[in-house]
Symmetry: C2
Subunit: 196 residues, 2 copies
């Protein structure tokens, strides 16, 4: 039975495959990675990989997702600094995989309904939970009069960082400063009307 994507069983084989996939990805790039190379690196048979992942793309997705820390950042005591922590986490998640991997995985997500479901269930939901929790904290503190639409705030936080790195091909070295600017801007908008 195949695994839920991005949530491998906690076992040494799962870990070995994910680690090997990330190493091969970093060395060979997305297009040239083969399941054979990952199996050899992990010291497992191809069957062990295909028992866990229906396709090469799903294997890569799981390995990349597995490596991300998508926990909600600790409560910093203010919406502004909580938002800055989220944009830094989003930037780290997008900038961690080797070059080209994020756009390639996104194309795969749009080509494979199983991957789309897994993407929604893992990356999108984890980030949405972070955004929602940070907004709820601000409401509880009295910083916001009511909960803004989490989907809107999520798009405002994630989209510009994705655009900076992958659409506009801007300098990644300037991305951290851009992420901070973005967090301040979104914080300002939320503070203005309690909703973006």
């Amino acid at each position: 039975m195949s695994q839920p994507l991005g949530r491998p069983r906690d076992s040494r084989v799962d870990e070995a495959i994910a680690t090997a996939a990330r190493q091969v990805l970093a060395e060979q790039g997305y297009a040239r990675l083969t399941v054979d190379a990952v199996a050899a690196r992990a010291g497992v048979g191809k069957a062990a990989i295909y028992r866990r992942h229906a396709t090469k793309q799903q294997m890569i997705f799981a390995a990349v997702m597995h490596d991300l820390d998508l926990a909600t950042p600790p409560d910093t005591g203010s919406l502004a600094t909580d938002l800055a922590a989220i944009t830094r986490d989003i930037l780290a998640a997008l900038a961690t995989p080797p070059p080209g991997v994020v756009p390639a995985l996104l194309a795969d997500v749009h080509a494979d309904p199983a991957m789309a479901a897994a993407f929604a269930r893992t990356f999108v939901r984890a980030e949405r939970d972070c955004v929602t929790e940070v907004l709820e904290r601000a409401v509880a503190r009295g910083e916001l009069p009511r909960l803004p639409d989490p989907a809107t705030v999520h798009a405002l936080l994630l989209g510009p960082i994705f655009a900076w790195l992958f659409l506009l091909l801007e300098d990644p070295g300037k991305a951290p400063a851009f992420a901070d600017t973005l967090a301040r801007g979104v914080g300002h908008l939320l503070g203005r009307d309690g909703g973006a």
Copy 2:
């Protein structure tokens, strides 16, 4: 000699190939489109396609780009409504290609330096010119004290719409309302400090 990507010569063959590519794309989807099918539909030989486009991916890119209207929107007399016009144009550009095509092309752009250069030279530059012109109009009107960083504003306008459609997989039917919300938010931020 191959053509500059996305800027086909003004000729009937160029038009026929681009039109055929868009039709096959809409019918077959990105992954199943073949150069043979496009050549047959266009009534040209494969050689005619490969004289213009080095790869299938470059042919698709040119066909999709060719179909987009990336002109700067007319001066509406205010920054707020100019920004709303830009976000509507961005949404139209991203939502026009058949499902999956934009993410697939983005992956191709990151896998092929020639496509990355063409993408920067066409889509990114055209949108950046729109953004810059709209900001310059606002400065000329006295709505903004100085020109904000166009790259930052571009990322703020493009990114959330891309995220809504392709990362968060939100309802495309709600994208126009989201684009308007976004334009208002960015306009507010720019008005606040003359720079995002």
